[in-house]
């Protein structure tokens, strides 16, 4: 019993399991895939995954607040388009950045208004805006070929090197740290959790749940916008369909990292570890020269196993910290109560 409780203490530190799985995977690939541990290769794939890391931060806020945002991928693509377009028109790089971020914010705002004020289901609203943002990018790229700005400042936003890492990666790091602090240490972050655990009790506790959700969607949109700027600066070209599907990788990563789709549980760094797990898996398989046709199968299985283990651990930890007799079966019930 004592050993068990020690074990339970260790594995109930949230995120330990996925981190352990990640480490194991890294060891496996460094033994089996040539050039897996070459700094260049690591830098490269992490650099490529920066947009996903950035949107996953905003997504984590939305999911913890009990919502979902499917639009982030295509909003990121559209923001990349608008910012590059502005830069190609010859505007200074900071205008391009602002335009990109505001594109994202505008979609965040639209999502937030329809979801919190008109009370339409978040899944459907963001699915709609997914289409709209992707469509808008198609319209833009149909008219203008976004094949690069001459403004080197704009390109340098993402590609400056500092301590051996690109500015993209630094931006991602800073964003992760800042937003993790906001999530875990600020009153807003606490309200995000409360809202996700239960909108009604949160409301009765004096939390403006709608405003909290509003904020979460704004953050999600704004970060998608900024991620778009980085992507545009990095690729220096944008085409229709860019970043479509990122949302699914981000959601899968977040869930794998233990962010509960039912809301109220998770953290930014764990979501990032989840995403890192998926991107590293992809990179490792690529470097092993595995037929990419089975990537999806492997990824799918990994997600399933990962989530099963995460939930198992959560339940296990719950059992041993529980002092009362009643095991509340309702905690795993995702139905939300409405007033």
């Amino acid at each position: 019993m004592r050993n068990q409780s020690k074990l339970s203490k260790i594995i109930s530190i949230e995120g330990v399991v996925i981190l352990a799985a990640f480490v194991l995977m890294v060891i496996f690939f460094s033994l089996n895939a040539d050039s897996f541990l070459i700094p260049d290769s690591i830098r490269y794939y992490i650099n490529e995954a920066v947009p996903i890391f950035i949107i996953i931060v905003g997504l984590t806020f939305v999911i913890i607040a009990g919502g979902i945002d499917l639009s982030i991928g295509s909003v990121l693509g559209l923001s990349a388009g608008t910012s590059l377009m502005v830069s190609m028109w010859g505007w200074p790089f900071w205008v391009a950045v602002i335009v990109g971020v505001f594109t994202g914010l505008a979609f965040g705002l639209f999502n937030a208004v329809i979801i919190t004020i008109f009370k339409v289901n978040d899944f459907i609203v963001t699915l709609g805006t997914l289409y709209i943002a992707a469509g808008a990018l198609t319209v833009i790229t149909d008219k203008i070929q976004l094949i690069g700005t001459k403004d080197t400042n704009f390109q340098r936003i993402s590609d400056m090197s500092f301590l051996g890492l690109t500015s993209s990666i630094w931006f991602a790091l800073v964003i992760v740290v800042i937003f993790e602090l906001i999530l875990l240490k600020s009153p807003f972050g606490r309200r995000v959790f409360a809202t996700g655990i239960g909108e009604v009790p949160a409301l009765i506790s004096g939390i403006n749940t709608q405003r909290t959700k509003f904020g979460a969607y704004l953050i999600s949109g704004g970060l998608a916008g900024f991620g778009g700027v980085l992507l545009a600066s990095h690729l220096n070209s944008v085409q229709s369909g860019l970043a479509g599907g990122y949302e699914l990788t981000a959601i899968a990563g977040a869930v794998l990292g233990g962010v509960s789709l039912a809301g109220g549980r998770g953290s930014v760094w764990r979501a990032i570890v989840g995403a890192l797990f998926l991107t590293t898996l992809n990179q490792g398989l690529l470097l092993m020269g595995v037929n990419p046709l089975i990537f999806q199968i492997v990824t799918g299985l990994c997600i399933l196993v990962g989530v099963v283990v995460d939930r198992g651990v959560y339940k296990f930890a719950l059992t041993f910290s529980t002092q009362t007799r009643e095991v509340n079966s309702q905690i795993l019930d995702r139905k939300k109560v409405s007033l």
Partner: protein, 534 residues
């Protein structure tokens, strides 16, 4: 552990044995929830199942209704050994249950809710028939439904549209309509009004006459007398006694339920409240409610609230008590009306604003409206006023811990540590955490909606004590309680609502009780709250 702890206190009433649960044990992941429990039920009796929270009553009932299976033990039904593996097999045996928590499916119509899962029992069709015929069902359930105030039109509306009260009626109808052999009622009166309770009790008696065995779980021990025939008492997962109700008194029951702790509960603590109220200070108005109106719910309600007083709000279901409090908290929008809190006049558009003005609420239906289940005690307490635990703009873990520790010791909240999740606490302790949450906002006005719903007697006493202490400390308290007894004994002043209007007010309630006696006060309130409009 001790088999002989089970003792027959007095001889049992006659009647054939219908159910015998013997040596039932159940472990929940390391915790012994039930330990060799015995239950012996005879047809035609009302059998009270009593015990504090965590005594194992719910687990036993879950086993009986097929929701969970025992680790060991046997169940005999009419002398036959049976296995109750699923809710369906319980139904097949004729065991019906009214759950403590509302078990209503919001998207199904009232009618569908009533016959769901018991189509065959209602229509006596073949079990393999996949069809359901709603008209036929409606025919079968109509008479019982009407008795419980469910109209023909309401039968066809989604159940989610109705309030807690009607939902309870739906459940009762659901249980009664199949003419069960054993009917389990888990806290059936919670949320019911006096007259509805009476209606329910009447039904229980008539079922009893038909030979149905009723297993009845309740925290309201006073209800037991005059209704129940037998009681099985449970403590710490064991059945400690089975007794006939005749010839036993309340204190005996409490002693059996709580063992050594019982003595403290029987003597109700007295708190000297005159100090806070009648001192040299003049009384001042903390809240003035002016002309609250909301279509169909509230009709021009105005009242005042003074410091240091406990204001009870009485009224039948649909009188608008909870709605009034929700309006006061800014949860529901008003058509018109304003408030004046310490001279600040205006509307409350959102609970956030209410807290800013110094109003806090302990809501009814703790599981759904009260607790943020995933939060630790620390987080649950600080959430309503996070400013209190900020340090340089960030939440300080230390401050949160200190804050929680303060309340844990102050209210003697039973928990291993302040990081325990609130959902792991017992109902009474959860309620104390929620009260702590309110107090952390340093409110001047506290609203308690059904403060003791679903918590055991020991906790109830503590909560009452707490409310009195708060008033003594100068806070204004508003209490809503369906149980008139509780309301009358707690309140200094009571206003009575009927159909969204104030129809009466009783000043100085404690004095009235002393002078006229409790019965008179109760009659007065009942009369005013139920009188038909002239």
């Amino acid at each position: 552990m001790q088999d002989n702890a089970f003792a027959e206190v007095s001889s049992l009433k006659a009647g054939s044995q219908i159910l015998k649960m013997s040596h039932i044990s159940k472990r929940y992941q390391g915790v012994q929830a039930l330990d060799k429990v015995e239950l012996d039920v005879r047809s035609g009796e009302i059998h009270a199942l009593l015990g504090g929270n965590g005594a194992g009553k719910s687990t036993l009932l879950k086993i009986l209704s097929g929701l969970t299976n025992p680790d060991e033990g046997t169940i005999f039904f009419h002398g036959q050994r049976v296995a109750i593996e699923s809710p369906r097999s319980a139904q097949e045996l004729g065991i019906s249950m009214i759950h403590q928590e509302l078990s209503i499916i919001p998207d199904l119509s009232v009618l569908e809710n009533i016959f769901l899962g018991q189509e065959r029992l209602i229509t006596q069709r073949k079990s393999w028939s996949p069809w359901v015929n709603r008209r036929e069902m409606a025919e079968k359930v109509r008479s019982v439904a009407t008795e419980f105030g469910i109209t023909e039109e309401e039968l066809w509306r989604p159940a989610g549209e109705f309030g807690a009260l009607k939902k309870r009626s739906i459940e009762i109808v659901k249980a009664l309509v199949v003419r069960p052999k054993i009917l389990i009622l888990d806290e059936p009166t919670s949320g019911l009004e006096e007259h509805e309770k009476e209606l329910l009790f009447g039904h229980m008696r008539s079922l009893q006459r038909l030979g149905v065995a009723l297993i009845w779980v309740t925290h309201h021990l006073d209800e037991v007398f005059g209704l129940a025939d037998t009681a099985t008492i449970m403590r710490d997962g064991k059945s400690v006694a089975q007794t006939s109700i005749e010839g036993i008194n309340l204190n005996d029951l409490i002693s059996l339920m709580f063992g050594s702790q019982a003595a403290a509960l029987i003597e109700q603590p007295k708190i000297d409240r005159t100090a806070g109220k009648a001192g040299s200070k003049e009384r001042f108005k903390t809240l003035e409610v002016v002309g609250f109106k909301r279509e169909g719910v509230l009709k021009d309600i105005s009242f005042d609230l003074w410091d240091g007083e406990i204001l009870g709000i009485a009224g039948l279901a649909g009188a608008g008590r909870t709605e009034l409090m929700r309006a006061l908290m800014g949860i529901d929008k008003l058509d018109s009306g304003s408030i004046n809190v310490f001279g600040k006049i205006g509307k409350i558009g959102h609970p956030e604003k209410a807290y800013e003005l110094g109003i806090a609420m302990v809501p009814e239906d703790r599981k759904v409206l009260g607790i943020l289940s995933e939060f630790s005690i620390e987080k649950s307490i600080s959430i309503s006023k996070l400013v209190n635990v900020l340090k340089k703009g960030f939440l300080s873990a230390k401050k949160e811990k200190d804050l929680a520790s303060e309340f844990i010791s102050k209210f003697s909240i039973k928990t291993p540590n302040s990081r325990e999740k609130i959902r792991n606490l017992s109902g009474g302790n959860q309620q104390k955490v929620i009260i702590s949450r309110c107090l952390n906002t340093n409110p001047r006005i506290l609203i308690f909606d059904e403060p003791t719903q679903g918590i055991d007697i020991a906790s109830k006493v503590e909560v009452h004590k707490l409310i009195r202490e708060l008033a003594a400390a100068g806070k204004s308290v508003i209490v809503i309680a369906s149980e008139l007894n509780e309301l009358i004994r707690l309140s200094d002043r009571i206003i009575i609502l009927r159909e969204g209007s104030i129809v009466g007010e009783l000043e100085s309630v404690p004095e009235r009780i002393q002078i006229n006696g409790y019965e008179v006060v109760e009659q007065d309130i009942l009369y005013k709250s139920s009188r038909v409009k002239v």
